[in-house]
């Protein structure tokens, strides 16, 4: 799948055609830092002074790189598609190679950062259990009731929650068997067929 670049975007990136290889490296590094930690405008100023161009030009170039990287990582485009997409920018061969490396090295990290921003539901984190026997309570002495007490840890994008629960042995067996059935469902032909066809 090809990435379609808009004219503004192409114009911003065209600044990179005339500069040295080391400068492009530096810009790539700055772009990744900004993806990880946020934009720092002072960097634009200092780079603009060194290269004797306006800060806006530097800003457009770096932001163009950032956008190129995040869009490519989001769509998870293959190497060949990526190379075809940047062909329209009119870059030299070694610049194209450099941009390809930039994409391949960083796309996993960019996807992880993007997934942290996306919606999360409370998901399972850990289950602790222990086996108790209830001997007495205020209302009834001389009991021998087996119980399983559990602590279910769930996490919802950094927020952790703990549920204290209990069951008896019969319900524990039922719970285990039902969830084993759920797990086995993924290996059924229907699910396998769907997964295969989506991944094609």
């Amino acid at each position: 799948m090809l990435l379609l670049l808009e004219d503004d975007h192409k114009r911003h990136l065209s600044f990179l055609i005339d500069v040295d290889v080391e400068v492009v490296q530096e810009f790539c590094r700055i772009a990744m830092e900004f993806i990880r930690k946020g934009v720092n405008p002072k960097v634009y100023q200092s780079a603009a002074q060194k290269l004797e161009v306006k800060p806006e030009v530097i800003q457009n170039g770096v932001e163009g790189l950032i956008y190129l990287l995040t869009e490519s990582a989001k769509l998870m485009i293959s190497e060949i598609d990526y190379q075809d997409s940047i062909m329209t920018l009119g870059f030299k061969e070694d610049l194209k190679q450099q941009l390809l490396q930039f994409y391949l090295e960083n796309r996993k990290e960019v996807r992880e950062i993007l997934s942290r921003m996306s919606m999360d539901l409370p998901h399972y984190h850990n289950l602790e259990w222990r086996f108790d026997v209830q001997l007495a309570s205020r209302s009834l002495r001389h009991q021998v009731t087996p119980l399983v007490t559990m602590k279910l840890h769930t996490e919802d994008s950094e927020k952790k929650e703990v549920h204290v629960l209990q069951t008896d042995p019969v319900n524990l067996l039922h719970l285990t068997q039902t969830l084993e059935g759920a797990l086995a469902e993924m290996k059924s032909t229907h699910c396998r067929r769907i997964v295969r066809n989506i991944n094609k």
Binding site: L121, P122, H123, F131, P146, Q166, L172, L175, L179
Partner: protein
């Protein structure tokens, strides 16, 4: 098992044949057991035909005392050998003691089940529902393509009939981890039951 002086005074009233006849006593003990187990009947205790010849004030006091006796006896799981001396001290004749013990032993287990369910416990899991989805994409990333399970644990709180749901999602690995831990718990239960 100890009973307070008020309860014992009430029991002494029960022992008196002049105030509560043998038949009335049997009916009284049965009615007390019914009301503990919340079995509704047509007549309230005060209007019960079997107890019509008993003075209302005496009836109320005897009812309360028999109730206290039955609950304490069930709580401590006592049998006839403990109850009989106690009733003798309160002027019960042997026939009336036997009559009480017969009715009580019949109903004891049911009352104990009820007493055992009273109390504060954590939410008790009674059932589980699950659903399997295939996660395609979200508004930030495309091509996620992973299976994801949504599990709902149905839980009951002691003393309430309402079912509370606890929901969470799992990936394949997380569900395998969960099922593994549950299977460990099952195995240790089996081993404990064989000890």
């Amino acid at each position: 098992m100890e009973l307070s002086t008020e309860v014992q005074e009430g029991l002494q009233l029960c022992a008196d044949n002049a105030r509560i006849s043998d038949n009335a006593f049997t009916v009284l003990v049965e009615r007390v057991c019914d009301s503990i187990l919340k079995k509704t009947t047509e007549y309230s205790v005060l209007d019960d035909k079997g107890l019509s010849d008993v003075d209302k004030a005496v009836l109320k006091q005897s009812y309360a005392s028999v109730l206290a006796l039955i609950l304490e006896a069930a709580k401590h799981d006592v049998d006839a050998s403990t109850i009989s001396p106690l009733l003798e001290d309160n002027k019960f004749i042997p026939e009336r003691i036997d009559s009480f013990n017969n009715i009580f032993q019949k109903r004891k287990t049911e009352i104990q089940v009820l007493l055992g369910s009273i109390g504060h416990t954590p939410l008790h899991i009674v059932d589980v529902d699950w659903r399997l989805d295939f996660y395609l994409k979200n508004n930030f990333i495309d091509k996620i393509n992973e299976p994801v399970y949504m599990v709902t644990l149905k839980t009951e709180q002691s003393g309430s009939d309402k079912i509370k749901d606890i929901q969470f999602t799992c990936s394949m690995e997380q569900l395998q981890d969960l099922v593994g831990k549950l299977k460990d718990a099952n195995k240790s239960l089996e081993k404990a039951s064989q000890m």
